[in-house]
């Protein structure tokens, strides 16, 4: 893609506050991801994925090209990119681990909900025929 004439900017919204960083170089995806994660740690963005959370706090992590609109800049705290170097490796690792846990939990929830939506015939196709319980037993913890 043609190199943009303007730098990319990172915008993080969390708990009603807006934070901005002007990014110097976004050509290395790994380095960019590292920058984004450090910013999330620095402003205490909740671990996990803001979109999946489906919350109403309007938290968001965004990358946009060019300096954000003046109306956004007027209310945003603009930080120096170098400040992100102060985020320790330990804090970054802990944040990523917490995010991984959140994502795993979201995946499990989605999988469980998908199974619950299946018809009994579809479940049988997926998991094989499950024989009915023997006469005189129940599947409700012994209560009839």
């Amino acid at each position: 893609m043609t190199a943009p004439r303007h730098n990319w900017w990172l915008i993080v919204r969390v708990d009603g506050a807006t934070h901005c960083w002007e990014l110097a170089d976004t050509s290395d995806p790994d380095r960019l991801q590292d920058t984004v994660d450090r910013a999330r740690v620095q402003v205490q963005f909740p671990p996990g994925d803001d979109w999946i959370a489906g919350d109403t706090r309007q938290n968001a992590v965004q990358l946009t090209q060019g300096e954000p609109h003046p109306s956004l800049m007027a209310t945003a705290a603009t930080h120096q990119l170098a400040d992100l170097d102060r985020v320790t490796a330990q804090a970054l690792a802990a944040y990523r681990a917490a995010s991984d846990n959140e994502r795993a939990a979201a995946r499990m929830t989605a999988a469980r909900e998908a199974v619950l939506r299946l018809t009994s015939e579809q479940r049988a196709q997926l998991y094989g025929d499950i024989p009915p319980p023997p006469r005189g037993t129940t599947t409700t913890g012994g209560r009839t």
């Binding site: 893609m1 043609t2 943009p4 004439r5 303007h6 915008i11 995806p29 790994d30 960019l32 991801q33 984004v36 994925d49 803001d50 979109w51 999946i52 309007q58 968001a60 992590v61 965004q62 990358l63 946009t64 090209q65 060019g66 954000p68 609109h69 109306s71 956004l72 995010s99 994502r103 995946r107 989605a110």
Partner: protein, 180 residues
């Protein structure tokens, strides 16, 4: 920025050519309202779990009554910037490269602020085919002159993921001025 031309108020016979020209300008504006169909045909890498403004480096049409348009395919090419104030109908979508992990999403933003009700989130379609996600179609957003709208893509495959830019898979955004 130019004003939206409006038909004059007439209280007597229309004899002055300037009044007829005002009618002409208003009708011409309605016949050639600001419209744009913007696309991406060159791959963009999208960071994990981050809303990324989609670069739109190609277009089918980007026009208005004076032929200027609101988009630049190079400088800040994520933006459609309104030249005429008013309500704009905006739609679009994002194509994500093949990857079966987790979720994909698309949404619109005005001046960097997400548009409420514009988002769509789906699980990745397949491990063998790209996933295309529309922002919710037909959003009406008010743009003052100089305000801009963007479409954002989001994915949490676990690492950076490219856009899909082959033919119908291309990310795109469509804008039409509809009302003052």
């Amino acid at each position: 920025m130019p004003n939206v031309p409006e038909a004059p108020t007439i209280r007597d016979e229309v004899t002055a050519s300037s009044k007829w020209n005002e009618f002409r300008d208003a009708i011409r504006f309605l016949m050639e309202p600001p419209i744009a169909n913007l696309r991406q045909n060159s791959v963009q890498s999208l960071a994990n779990a981050t809303l990324v403004a989609i670069q739109l480096n190609a277009f089918d049409v980007d026009s208005d009554v004076d032929g200027t348009g609101g988009h630049d395919t190079v400088t800040n090419n994520t933006r459609f910037t309104a030249r005429y104030p008013g309500w704009h109908w905006v739609s679009g979508g994002v194509g994500f490269a093949t990857n079966g992990n987790n979720w994909r999403a698309a949404e619109l933003a005005v001046n960097g602020v997400p548009v409420n009700g514009s988002g769509v989130q789906v699980s990745a379609a397949s491990t063998t085919a790209p996933t295309m996600v529309p922002a919710r179609g037909g959003n009406l957003v008010y743009l003052d002159a100089g305000h801009f709208v963007e479409i954002y893509g989001w994915q949490n495959s676990g690492g950076a993921l490219n856009t899909a830019v082959s033919g119908v898979q291309q990310p795109s955004m469509t804008i039409r001025w509809v009302s003052i």
